[in-house]
Each structure stands twice: as structure tokens, then as C-alpha cells.
Symmetry: C2
Subunit: 105 residues, 2 copies
Amino acid sequence: MEDFENNHAQDLDSETIFIVSQTFKALGDPTRIRILNLLFTKECSVNEIAETLDIRQSTVSHQLRFLKNLRLVKYRREGTSLYYSHDDEHVMLILKQMIDHACHS
Amino acid sequence: MEDFENNHAQDLDSETIFIVSQTFKALGDPTRIRILNLLFTKECSVNEIAETLDIRQSTVSHQLRFLKNLRLVKYRREGTSLYYSHDDEHVMLILKQMIDHACHS
DNA sequence: TCGATATATGTTAATGTGTTCATATAATAC
DNA sequence: GTATTATATGAACACATTAACATATATCGA
């Protein structure tokens, strides 16, 4: 039997495992969670993120690159500033669910 | 304004951040994903998990302890065997969503 | 009590991760 | 062109993580 839409196979194929673990790994860090949670509300420049969350600019930039590689965020330029926003509705929904889950426990 | 049920604060409180990142970290490893995915279907003994997924017994045991500490799995004893099953419906639902998400991308 | 089986645990080595500092690049205004 | 501001990048370090091996513990049956 094919197992295309119905994921109850005994084991997953390696590509699926890779993507899923990579994405959860992205969400498995306090700094990245805070950044994504901020981007929930609004688009932000790198400096806005750094100042709002009190994290060094280079740290924010490194983590944004990480999130960008996974297509979890995108940006647009405006002068010398880059405005970042989230780029994966589904993953953001999953993040929101986990935050709600944590708040109720 | 209070921000109890409505999580769109600029920043999250540190305990929420900790729980959320810990839980995602648990899901951010290929071995643990495979184990949890197997437990989706059915309760399994440690050996069953190790054999089905072709992972060493000690590795499975270590990862199960990890998942147990986060209350993501539970077990019952039957003779010398321990039968593990999942113990957090909500997190399992989140895992399933991410797997489906990965399959459609 | 002893042997067999199932599982857990301690240790170690290799690898990966996150932050920092220093510096480079890019866009803009002058 | 230069200065200024915003952001990215590279290197280095401390720390965490993973899997493997060896060994310990626990349950059961004889």
C-alpha cells in the first residue's frame, strides 16, 4: 500500500526525517524563538530586533541567516535597513500552538 | 494590558521560552523523530524500537530517557520488557503536522 | 541461587551549536 | 570621492549533543 498522504508508516523516508528535524531544530533555540515570536506581530529591521530583544546585532544577523536558509523568514530592503518578516505560515502556526501549549501547562 | 491567553507580546517570558525551546529541541533530532513516529502507531518495547529502526539498544534507551524527562513518552512494564508509548497528544499532533508539511513541500 | 533476557547507565570521543569580537560590505548623504 | 549607518561575515571559543562501548541492574524461570 502506498503511503503518500497517510503518514503512519513504520519508518519515515530519510528526506522527510531530514526536513522535519531541521525545521524543529530551527525552533529549538531560545533566541530564534524570540525572533520569530517578534516577527509574528510585525516586520522588523535587524536593529529593531536586536534592541527589542536585547541581543547583539551580529547574533541576530547570524540567526536570521539560519532562519533564511530554511525559508522561515524573508526580507526587503529599505535604504540601508533590511526589514525581516516571517515566510512560512504553517511553521509559524506550529510555533504558536507550542507557545499556547506551554502556557497552559 | 494582560497577556495571558493572547500571545502576541513583543517578547515571551523566560519560562515559556525555555519550555518551548526544550520541546522543539526534543523534536529536532532524526532518531527521536523516528522513535516518536513509530510510537504514533503502537506501543513498543525498547528492543522492538531498536530492531524496527535499526538503532542500537543503548541509543534507543538514552533517547527514551530524554523523551521521558519531557513527558513526551511513558511506559509500562510487562515481565522484563518495558512498553513505551507517547504521552503528549498535543506534541504528537504538532509532529504529525510538521511531517505532513514536509511531505507536501 | 543461578542463568538468561531486557533495559538502563556511565564514560568517552567526535561532532555540532551559539555567541562574541573584529572586520567587511553595502547603501546613502554630503 | 568620504563619512556614516546598517547589516553581514569569518574566526575562535565554550559548551552541548550524539552515538558507541562496556557494564550494571532488574525480572523471570529453572
